[in-house]
């Protein structure tokens, strides 16, 4: 069986809701049926074959070729299988994803991995604001799984994050880990202002000293036993995080946000 490939015929003028094209929805469908699925495009509904050339047969291995940042909701509620995006992905990539893998060769838009429950999302380029966050009005962001971003991410990464891990090889914007409930965000680059703003629990693991808010208190330097195990669990990733030289266990620990419960922590490599 060959990869089920959707190749964009032309860049769409309006944003496209790609949520119907996930592995579990397409399982057992033939190409004609898949071609007849309607996707919301702006205020219109378009058949899949009006937007994409379709070939291949493996509905559990999907490729979206020549993708643009107008394609939203790719991999929404994905529950197994894999989706590869050749190019950029729009907003809400892997939203509420339950299992499986999503790979994006370019950038991802706002709210990537928001409210994700499990699985693996890898983004080769950058990701927008609210990576792994909660939808507006909701109280729980990412609840599990792993997100790897090789580029930079926008503001509010991990907003309301509850579980799982966000790994960022590049830089993160302001309010990284804001309102975190738990989980881990690791940033190899720099983070903007207000890191960990209103975090209740959870861990921000940083390679570079951030400019911290007054509501984070210095807990001193420590050697933490869980860190080598944490890094060891990334061995299978195609990432700098898998590199043994990236691992460390000596950190400076800052507790906070003391304006919240103060049970969160920002760990900075020393």
């Amino acid at each position: 069986m060959t990869t089920l490939t959707f190749t964009l015929i032309a860049p769409p003028a309006q944003r496209v809701d790609m949520s119907p094209l996930v592995c579990q929805n397409l399982e057992g469908l033939d190409l004609d049926t898949i071609a007849a699925i309607e996707l919301q495009c702006g205020k219109r509904k378009l058949r899949v074959d009006q937007l994409f050339y379709i070939n291949g047969s493996n509905t559990q291995d999907i490729l979206i070729a020549d993708s643009t940042d107008k394609l939203d909701f790719i991999g929404k509620e994905l529950n197994g299988g894999s989706i590869s995006v050749q190019g950029n992905a729009g907003a809400y990539l892997g939203m509420q994803m339950k299992a499986g893998t999503i790979n994006v060769s370019g950038d991802a838009g706002l709210y990537a991995a928001c409210e994700m429950k499990n699985g693996l999302i890898q983004i080769e380029g950058d990701a927008g604001d609210f990576l792994g966050g909660a939808l507006p009005g909701n109280r729980q962001g990412m609840k599990g799984g792993t997100v790897l971003v090789k580029g930079n991410v926008g503001q509010r990464a991990g907003d309301h994050m509850r579980r799982g891990q966000i790994l960022i090889e590049g830089n993160a914007g302001d309010y990284c880990g804001s309102r975190m409930v738990a989980g881990t965000i690791a940033v190899m680059g720099t983070v903007g202002r207000y890191a960990g703003y209103a975090m209740r629990r959870g861990t921000l693991l940083l390679w570079n000293q951030p400019q911290l808010s007054a509501t984070f208190n210095d807990c001193g330097s420590h050697t933490l036993a869980f860190l080598p195990m944490f890094f060891a669990s990334f061995k299978s990733l195609n990432s700098k995080f898998a590199d043994t030289s990236a691992a460390f266990n000596r950190v400076r620990r800052y507790g906070g946000d003391m304006a919240e419960t103060g049970r969160g922590e920002i760990l900075v490599r020393i």
């Binding site: 799982g164 738990a182 629990r201 420590h222 933490l224 036993a225 869980f226 195990m229 944490f230 669990s233």
Partner: protein
């Protein structure tokens, strides 16, 4: 059957079903991992009075442990799951949580999960931190020397307890030397522990007693000083009997341990005063697992 002058009795050891788990204790170095492991497995010789039978299975190299530090694998056996979980938690709390630099991990994958650090985390008084790494939940409990890292659960499996054999010798030092040799070899077998002090039991017991309060009492048939006053099972030249008790994850594990142990005893042979190998046999009423000595040594 006679091996190197040692008579192997045509009898069998009786064993019974137990529940078992394994935990891995790591520490800054092997010395402290061993100290913690010894404390955790202390006073755990027999379920009769200790609530569990526990022992050190083996020392683990840093490459074999989850956190890459020197470690020790310990096993705990109990008659039921509830008792096992209680003993594991109590002992982990008193002997590993408190021990400098220690960390505690699951040693059995699969089986029914039972709490390892799941409830010990409350020692953190709200400052404890949960981390899920590689699909497993760990707890980081702040303690005075840093952090106590523990896995939330470990696996509980069905197991076999009470495998045994008796070493009958012409003198006490000879019996002891033979048992030491046996234990040395048996320690190399995985999935078994010999829970008694040093692996050797001098007070083999029979079921029942003349005192109503006691469920077990001295095995007078094998007490050399009672040869003339009780229905003895000893010949005149036997002056000392010692027992080795084995708990294992499976019957086959105990088979292997008994085989190498008895062989080590027999290697010393009659020339070193070892006369007979027998076993704790209670007429087949104690448990469903029977370890026939001659079959094991065949």
């Amino acid at each position: 059957m006679i091996i190197n002058g040692v008579t192997i009795d045509k009898t069998f050891a009786e064993a019974f079903p137990m529940k078992a788990t394994r935990a891995i204790i790591t520490a800054h170095n092997e010395k402290w991992a061993m100290i913690s492991a010894q404390a955790m497995t202390g006073f755990a010789t027999s379920v009769i009075a200790c609530g569990c039978e526990a022992g050190i299975e083996r020392v683990l190299s840093p490459e074999e442990t989850p956190d890459g530090r020197p470690g020790v694998a310990i096993m705990i056996y109990a008659m039921g799951g509830k008792g096992l979980a209680k003993q594991l938690e109590t002992r982990a709390g008193q002997c590993v949580l408190t021990s400098p630099t220690s960390a505690l991990f699951a040693g059995i994958e699969g089986g029914k999960p039972i709490p390892l650090g799941k409830n010990l985390r409350y020692f953190g008084d709200g400052f404890q931190i949960s981390k899920k790494i590689g699909g497993k939940r760990y707890w980081r409990v702040p303690v005075m020397d840093g952090e106590f890292l523990t896995e939330a659960t470990t696996g509980m499996v069905d197991a076999v307890g009470g495998g045994n054999f008796l070493v009958l010798a012409e003198s006490q030092p000879q019996a002891l030397a033979a048992c030491e040799a046996a234990i040395e070899e048996m320690k190399k077998i995985p999935n078994v522990i010999m829970p008694f002090p040093g692996g050797v039991v001098r007070s083999g017991s029979k079921v029942g007693s003349k005192y109503k309060a006691l469920g077990a009492s001295t095995n007078d048939a094998f007490c050399p000083t009672l040869k003339g006053v009780t229905k003895t099972d000893l010949s005149p030249e036997i002056e000392s009997v010692m027992e080795i008790v084995i708990d294992g994850l499976t019957k086959e594990d105990i088979d292997k341990a008994m085989r190498v142990g008895i062989q080590a005893v027999c290697d010393l042979g009659a020339a070193n005063g070892i006369k007979r190998i027998s076993a704790g046999n209670y007429g087949g009423k104690l448990g469903p697992f029977h370890f026939h000595l001659q079959e094991i040594m065949a």
